[in-house]
């Protein structure tokens, strides 16, 4: 009986073995190797040389760019994640109305989120062009001279925050699914009790939506701390390091300055930061996330 079950399991493992092998080779292997590499001096070509905790010591105590890039990333996450949640929830509420052609509106708002990041970045380089960009042309209609956006260190980080709203359609669909899950009897009871529209949103919709908001918050923070493609394409960290995000700095150290050991240490610090924030959010959920039961 036992051998039959073992044989059955083995067949199952055989079927998933391509994935397991791929995971071990391309995810788990590099993941674990990078722990070792973070304690070495390694330029990718010659064998790594053990330097102990030197990389960590240096980046925590003696690397101004580390702190700067962490702050640039943290600031972006602090603004773009809540902004994405507010915009996503608001859009989902609007697109949850029973109006004619609602599926077309939903599709329209969702479409931008499936545009590849590189294509989106290229489009936004033009939209944010100070002279011939769409945004400044629109502002010009109201006799406002728009800023130089990506070319102004004061505006470049906020331009990227603004750009992040473009992809909010993805989370909007999840919020929309969450809204559909809210039992209608709660609204009926609220109506009988005389609750207005705003009260219903505040006391029924938002609390019932908190599990979805929680999910998007966690994913948003992880995504923000790994923010890379857009800045690599659009600004390369400039002007004046105002968009030197953590992941971009890590990439530069690894592939431009051939400092893989240091970059591995940076990656593990990033991992620790993301894990800490995620754990804090998980711990906080008891206070604000409401599950139906």
């Amino acid at each position: 009986m036992r051998s039959k079950s073992l044989k059955k399991n083995l067949i199952g493992y055989a079927f998933i073995s391509p994935w397991i092998i791929g995971f071990l080779m391309f995810t788990a292997g590099p993941f674990l190797t990078s722990i070792y590499l973070s304690f070495t001096r390694y330029n990718i070509v010659t064998p790594p040389v053990w330097v102990g905790a030197q990389n960590y010591k240096m980046l925590l105590h003696d690397d101004p760019q580390f702190g700067k890039s962490l702050w640039v990333t943290f600031r972006y996450a602090l603004v773009s994640v809540p902004l994405g949640i507010i915009t996503g929830v608001s859009l989902a509420l609007l697109l949850n109305q029973k109006v004619r052609g609602i599926s077309i509106y939903r599709t329209l708002f969702f479409l931008p989120s499936i545009v590849p990041t590189v294509a989106m970045a290229t489009i936004f380089i033009w939209i944010l062009n100070p002279e011939i960009g769409l945004l400044n042309t629109l502002l010009h209609l109201f006799h406002i001279q728009g800023p130089a956006w990506l070319q102004d260190p004061a505006w470049a980080p906020w331009s990227l925050v603004f750009m992040s709203i473009w992809g909010v359609g993805g989370s909007m669909v999840i919020y929309l699914a969450g809204l559909k899950d809210i039992p209608s009897y709660l609204y009926e009871a609220a109506l009988i009790d005389g609750a207005g529209a705003l009260q219903r949103v505040r006391h029924i919709t938002l609390p019932m939506l908190t599990p979805v908001i929680f999910f998007n918050l966690v994913m948003g923070i992880i995504g923000s701390f790994q923010y890379f493609t857009e800045v690599y394409m659009m600004t390369r960290g400039g002007p004046e390091d105002s968009t030197m995000f953590y992941a971009l700095y890590l990439f530069e150290r690894a592939w431009r300055y051939l400092d893989m050991g240091y970059a591995s240490a940076l990656a593990w610090v990033l991992f620790a930061v993301i894990m800490t924030l995620t754990l804090l959010i998980f711990r906080s959920q008891r206070r604000w996330v409401h599950y139906g039961n």
């Binding site: 001096r41 330029n43 990718i44 070509v45 010659t46 040389v49 330097v51 030197q54 990389n55 240096m58 003696d62 690397d63 062009n129 100070p130 002279e131 011939i132 960009g133 130089a148 070319q151 102004d152 260190p153 400039g238 002007p239 004046e240 390091d241 592939w255 431009r256 300055y257 051939l258 400092d259 050991g261 240091y262």
Partner: protein, 453 residues
């Protein structure tokens, strides 16, 4: 009347014999005459990676074909690599134990890569007479590029220099004499101011002259980032400060924000859309590749080239130089074949042969000897403005990327210094002090981690 198919056995036999004989003759010819295919199969492949796509691909392939035609032993197999991934692809190929034999690189990092063990020196493969010819005949900038710790890691294959391009029609419109080009940078700035054009709102519509690029102009001031004699960095020296002040002041005068807006409204700088062609600039410091651009896309445009005029007390015929290198990765399976290809293209054994290659790419040749070859002379007749570059190339006042093992970091910081000073975020003094401090900090960091300083 319908014709019946022939069933005559004699005719069929004759036909069979004719066809059989023809087939046998064709087979014999194929086997006895060594075809190109068979010849190639015998040759040793030399894998060559480059980044020359677009309009450069065809000229590049013609050089490879010329080499392959000349060879019985080696055959170059090219691979076009996207420039965004060229460096990382090379490194990963080495980690994977399968590097190419020869690579054309644009990244100004031969010293850094040599120190990191990515490259192998070329000089062991150079015959003594080739090295002697190289040291005796190559342009000064070529002779001093690609070396690290006494070894040659990259042979220059085309190098960029910057000179002034200007539009005589704009001079005449402004009542200036295009035959009397300013002798000093200070005079040039004043002439440039007369050529600026603004709309009624004060926005720039044409830039007369705006010096841009710290590293481009620093050699004219007698400055630089590295002392070639002592091997020491010279980041914060009076000449550098004077250059940075000049750039920052010029930018401040016209208004940084105005320039950003003007330049962002221009089309991309490549090919036919180079803004000099449509008159957005009257005078501009640019590289030699623009001569070919203008020849191709604006053959009727009247323009001239002159060396960057020195500031008062500065250096004549000065420029910064960026170089393409042919390099051999460490572990290349066919280093001898790679060297055969490098020397063929560079023309170390026959400058007249390579004289035909440089014009089709529009690149600066390795040596003035190449320019005296008839093929090159003929091309120069069609692109006379190129002579300015050849003149500057002979100068000793050309500066190159310092051959230190942290070249990319250093030049990134120089770029940031330029940005900080010309934007007005820091004064030129503060920006240079920051540059010196940041680079010293990086060197200390490298030292503590055990990297070469």
């Amino acid at each position: 009347m319908e014709t019946e198919p022939s069933h005559d056995p004699a005719r069929r036999r004759i036909l069979k014999n004719v066809v059989g004989t023809a087939a046998a003759a064709a087979t014999a010819a194929f086997l006895l005459q060594p075809s190109q295919f068979l010849l190639r199969k015998k040759r040793t492949p030399v894998r060559f990676w480059h980044q020359l796509g677009g309009e450069w691909l065809q000229p590049m392939e013609s050089i490879i074909e010329a080499f392959n035609r000349s060879q019985e032993r080696y055959e170059v197999i090219p691979l076009l690599v996207a420039d965004t991934e060229a460096d990382s692809k090379l490194m990963l190929s080495m980690v994977g134990g399968d590097p190419p034999d020869v690579v054309l690189i644009w990244t100004q990092a031969t010293s850094e890569w040599a120190e990191s063990g990515l490259l192998q020196p070329l000089d062991p493969y150079m015959r003594p007479e080739e090295m002697a010819w190289f040291l005796q005949n190559a342009y000064p900038v070529v002779r001093k590029s690609g070396w690290y710790k006494g070894r040659l890691y990259g042979l220059v294959m085309g190098f960029d220099l910057w000179v002034i391009y200007y539009r005589p029609d704009h001079f005449r419109q402004a009542g200036l004499d295009p035959d009397r080009f300013p002798e000093t940078l200070e005079e040039l700035t004043k002439v440039g101011e007369k050529l600026h054009r603004f709309d009624s709102g004060g926005n720039i519509t044409r830039i007369g002259f705006l010096p841009t690029g710290f590293q481009t102009f620093v050699p004219s001031f007698g400055g630089g980032f590295y002392d070639e004699q002592t091997g020491a960095l010279t980041l914060n020296r009076p000449e550098n400060l004077r250059a940075l002040r000049f750039l920052a002041e010029s930018r401040k005068q016209i208004g940084f924000d105005k320039v950003v807006r003007f330049e962002s409204g221009l089309t991309s700088g490549d090919g036919a859309s180079w803004p000099f062609i449509n008159g957005s600039y009257s005078i501009i410091a640019e590289g030699e590749w623009r001569v070919e651009t203008l020849r191709k896309y604006a053959p009727q445009l009247e323009y001239r080239t002159v060396p960057i005029p020195p500031p008062v007390g500065g250096k004549r015929n000065a420029s910064f130089s960026m170089t393409n290198f042919l390099v051999m990765p460490k572990g290349a399976p066919q280093p001898r074949g790679a060297w055969e290809y490098i020397r063929f293209w560079a023309g170390l054994d026959d400058p007249a042969r390579s004289a035909g290659f440089y014009p089709i790419l529009g690149w600066m040749p390795l040596s003035p000897r190449v320019t005296h070859a008839p093929a090159y002379e003929n091309w120069l007749k069609t692109a006379p403005t190129y002579r300015t570059f050849l003149k500057v190339a002979e100068s000793q006042n050309i500066r190159i990327t310092p051959p230190v093992p942290y070249q990319l970091y250093l030049m990134d910081q120089v770029q940031k210094t330029d940005d900080l000073a010309t934007r007005g975020t820091l004064s030129p003094e503060e920006a240079l002090e920051k540059l010196e401090k940041d680079v010293a900090h990086e060197r200390q960091r490298r030292k503590e981690l055990g990297y070469a300083e």
